[in-house]
Amino acid sequence: MFDAGSGLLATAWVPLLLSLKVAGWATALVLVAGVAIAWAVARRRFRGREVLDAVMTLPMVLPPTVLGYYLIVLLGRRGWLGAWLHEQLGVVLMFTWQGAVIAAAVVAFPLVYKAARAAFEGVPTQTENAARVLGATEWAVFVRVTLPLAWRGILAGTMLAFARALGEFGATLMVAGSIPGKTQTLSIAVYEAVQAGQDDMANFLVLVTSVVCILVLVGSGRLLRVRTS
């Protein structure tokens, strides 16, 4: 019993660490890109703004398999970007954990983007104008006024994005495959365990995944509650 338990833990440990690594990197990417694009859409007026907003929200509604297919077309050996990366830099993203990061980032992106856009739009333009009149540069306005007033919403969105990246399955499987110890994340390991009839393993992995996601959701819920009160 004890031996079986520690064996499960040892087997679950590898995909869990990989999932945390992939989700962590994906969240970092998505945080920077999501905040930058959300700020531009919320505060700047430019041609194609509505189209950009729609495209940035698209991963939320498209099936992960469709996103995975797009990524293969883009990043594959003969893909538009993949071929260039391979020839110029010798970088291959398909079937690597970095590829899994890209897939998770694309799927999680709208969660940060939507939250950040709403948070930026909740900052009164008047308050930003007050800072401008008081001598602040545009960068100072962003760092000293906009960001401090919007960070709670952004952080809540970021935690949701982390949870989403952690549970990513479809796009990751298509782009990175299921190589144990290399690209086999927690959610993919669950699928493999069920397929192989390893019910104990599946139960344990499902439990671990659920606990991690519940922790993240409780955390982000708490942040949002503080903001609205």
Binding site: P124, T127, A130, A131, R132, V133, L134, G135, A136, V143
Partner: protein, 259 residues
């Protein structure tokens, strides 16, 4: 001080078009811009502060050109040395009173204001009798206290011109008169010329050296208290309001029926 401007701006929203064409020369210490809401007073002041770009014209303050459409000059708001007290004060809700007032003298990478700035801010807060509120946040303050914070924050950077947008409209009537007197004391103390927007004739009576009346995006009348009435013949609302203003200004004596 001399603020001189001649600006045009066309606003089109939902099929309605509003044409602003403001021409001003303010040479007095306190100029009051008076007019009904929607008459173009606020947008004119925003143009002076650099928060709104006119389509054409120029804005000059003292010897400096702040805006000149023909010469392609449009000084950013942060370089204009024009302070603006917003109608709702626009205090920074995430900063304490002391940090709000220190804002213009603190750089973006400084986590707290330098010592010299902190001393200066403390003195200024005492001048405004809000020293005991230094560590409070805007949400904890009354309307009058917020206004004092907004004024202190506007004056700490020693601007060349102070713009006030409906400064007393958010205050209850009893407090208004007190704050008017306070504003006059400030003018004497800080030697900063002011342009005050209002639609309250009592503000004109208490504050104005010079009054400029806006209507429909244009300057309908301008002048000192004595010569004003004759110039605002048109528009019953403006006239009624200006009569009340005159009645207050001339030692409380009601103006003789002129019509």
């Amino acid at each position: 001080m001399s603020l001189e401007l001649d600006v045009r701006r066309r606003f089109a929203t939902d099929g309605r078009v509003f044409e602003l064409h403001a021409q001003l020369q303010c040479t007095h210490d306190v100029t009051v811009v008076f007019g009904p809401s929607g008459s173009g007073k606020s947008v004119t002041l925003q143009a002076v502060a650099g928060l709104l770009q006119p389509d054409a014209g120029f804005i000059r303050l003292g010897g400096r050109v702040l805006f000149d459409a023909d010469r392609g000059i449009d000084l950013p708001a942060r370089l204009r040395r024009v302070a603006y007290v917003f109608q709702d004060y626009a205090l920074f809700p995430h900063l304490s009173v002391a940090r709000n007032v220190a804002f213009p003298l603190t750089r973006w990478w400084q986590r707290r204001p330098p010592a010299a700035v902190a001393t200066r801010v403390a003195e200024l807060l005492d001048t405004f009798e809000i020293g005991h509120l230094a560590e409070s946040y805007p949400a904890q303050l009354s309307g009058g206290q917020r206004q004092r914070v907004a004024l202190a924050r506007a004056l700490v950077g020693e601007p060349e011109l102070l713009l006030l947008d409906e400064p007393f409209s958010a205050l209850d009537p009893l407090l208004r008169e007190r704050m008017r007197q306070e504003l006059l004391r400030l003018r004497a103390r800080f030697q900063v010329p002011m342009v005050v927007i209002t639609h309250d004739p009592d503000d004109v009576a208490s504050l104005a050296d010079e009054v400029i009346v806006f209507r429909d995006g244009r300057v309908a009348a301008r002048g000192d208290t004595q010569t004003l009435l004759a110039e605002v013949e048109s528009g019953p609302q403006v006239r009624r309001a200006m009569r009340r203003f005159l009645a207050g200004a001339v030692n409380g004596e009601p103006s003789s029926g002129d019509a």
